[in-house]
Amino acid sequence: MTDGVHLPVADAIDADVGRALLERMWLIRAFEEKASELYAKGKIRGLLHLGIGQEGSAVGAISRLAPGDRVFGGHRAHAHALAKGADPVRLLAELAGRTTGYCGGKGGSMHIAAPEVGFATATGVVAGNLPLALGDAWAATLERSDRIAVAFFGDGAGQAGSFHETLNIASLWRLPMVFVCENNGYAEFTPLSAHTKVERLADYAGVYGMPASTVDGNDVFAVHAAMGEAVARARAGGGPTFVEALTYRLRGHYEGDPAKYRELSELADWKQKDPIARFATALAERRLVDDATGVALATQARARVDAAADEALTGPIPSVEDLLRDVVAAR
């Protein structure tokens, strides 16, 4: 197992990097499958949005980020937090509402925060993270730091006012920010085509003269490449970039959603494009990580998550004192 929580940052995906990314993808997959299992058992409650099938964009993009860069996620953000280096034990404890969770059980699945590893916050409000990331990027310029801010959001956010307002200011002020749109074709139960005539959200960037690309989000190499350019540009003072990653969620919108609004054939097609399997195959083809190692990584990830779950569920249930804490600074 790779040491340390940060993914290796590298221009090219070599054997070590490939292995680390594949490992992290399996960790995320195992984590979310575990979350699903615990949800079914009632150990995790609330709204649980899984990103199973979307690990490629999360890991491909975040593998380009330095520890000091800050990520802002949405309601489907387990993958982004874990890719940025969040501890699976504390994250599962958070989902299960324990005091040992990152947020002491107050945040839950939709409002993850792990600022110590650069996952600034998630939000349950669609597009709500975009202005926050913008402010973080502005702060970076005031600090004269070369860190950057990255916002992950879905295709559904593209019809929200804040998305547009944020694009405008980011381009106007040339802020060190990357917009990563994970276009999975659906917002809840509605296909993108019913929400907008715009097929590629990256088209919006063009109006502002902002560099943009649309890539296969289930291809880690493609995301890694596009994000590499974007991050380099932001860090060099070249302003924001828009990266649209086309992907698909293999589960319902949230756990419990039977997802009747989509064709089974569509689902089957996308299962063929599973980003983890594709990355493993590609790594094997390039003779970077062989199949046996890939399988071992998956097994190890499951074991690690099993242990994480056992540990997470020993965390204490919060008390009334916990309920009343953390509203404002101690006065």
Binding site: G124, V125, T190, P318, L323
Partner: protein
């Protein structure tokens, strides 16, 4: 009478309104697929997707869209998926829907209904659980109703749709699956009238939405000790049926106001202040308020349970009103009742 779940009573009101009045139309995110809870399930099939219209995730604009359609003579019913997202639509709601009649000197009006569910239920956390009725009740031009049961859900929604002013129809997610008898046929509950959910002589508890059930549970607990609580379901918050509230307090001499929202700055304060002024001479103990602690709604379900005001807290508050009455004899003793 037919037994219906609260959410089905809502759907039934929508269905009947769509059938009865061609100007009624529905708008909201995912509503043609029924929405996340199923309140509009099947309505697009029956009434068509042009009248049961899915919208993008653009809360500010769909509020304005509904207002613009209402100004033009439609009776739109807009669903905002969670009360927390009303924060995105406050400009259109408050600066436009609520004010257009007044600013135009009565030339325009906005027969709009906004359906929105809220409350803490299911461990959804701070972005999907708020109770914000206090904001809306501070806005001249709006009407605000908050049914606690299936019959009122149907009757008040029907009244809301027929109203010529913008009505905020507050649903509680935690009530969606609660069953209740609903009168058959056209069922209208007039806006502006409270209901006595349980009569009693010793103390009045005013509540609305899900807290009515909690208040009734508290009343049961107290009844076991011989204390008879009158539970008043405010139902219509704006306009408020002050008359019924004051009449109850005049009988009991004691008032507890219970709401699920955080207590500070909540609508309970308005009730306490206005009943306190109007029934001053009849009050035999300070008014007690019960509400959530002044914290955002936590996500973890165990914390959520601690957050939501309980029947026990209402019981304690009622007890305080009874203990705290200088010169008043044992409650429940008819000799000392007014």
């Amino acid at each position: 009478m037919t037994e219906l779940r609260y959410i089905d009573a809502i759907r039934s009101a929508l269905d009947e309104a769509l059938t009865a009045d061609p100007t009624v139309c529905l708008l909201g995110e995912d509503i043609s697929m029924g929405g996340p809870f199923g309140a509009t399930k099947g309505l697009a099939d029956v009434h068509g997707e042009s009248r049961v219209r899915n919208t993008p995730i653009s809360e500010a604009t769909i509020m304005g869209l509904a207002i613009g359609a209402a100004m033009a003579g439609r009776r739109p019913v807009l669903e905002i998926m969670f009360m927390d997202f009303m924060t995105l639509a406050m400009d259109q709601l408050v600066n436009h829907a609520a004010k257009l009649r007044y600013m135009s000197g009565g030339q325009n009006h906005v027969p709009l209904t906004v359906r929105v569910q809220g409350g803490a239920a299911g461990g959804m956390g701070a972005h999907h659980s708020q109770s914000l009725e206090a904001w809306f009740t501070h806005v001249p031009g709006l009407t605000v109703v908050a049914p606690s049961n299936a019959a009122d859900a149907k009757g008040l929604l029907t009244a809301a749709i027929r109203s010529d002013d913008p009505v905020i129809f507050l649903e509680h997610r935690g009530l969606y699956w609660a069953k209740g008898d609903v009168p058959d046929g056209d069922h209208l509950v007039p806006i502006g009238r409270a209901a006595i959910a349980r009569p009693g002589r010793d103390a009045t508890v005013v509540a609305w939405s899900r807290m009515v059930g909690t208040a009734l549970a508290a009343a049961d607990l107290l009844a076991a000790e011989g204390i008879e609580v009158e539970v008043v379901d405010a139902r219509s918050l704006l306009p408020l049926d002050l008359e019924t509230l004051v009449a109850s307090v005049a009988r009991t001499g004691r008032l507890v106001v219970a709401s699920e929202a955080v207590m500070t700055g909540g609508f309970g304060a308005e009730i306490a202040a206005s009943v306190g002024a109007a029934a001053a001479a009849r009050l035999r103990a300070p008014i007690e308020r019960v509400g959530a602690p002044f914290v955002p709604v936590p996500a973890g379900s165990d914390l959520e349970i601690l957050f939501i005001p309980s029947a026990e807290r209402i019981v304690e508050a009622v007890r305080r009103t009874l203990a705290d009455s200088p010169g008043v004899a044992t409650p429940g003793d008819p000799a000392t009742e007014p």
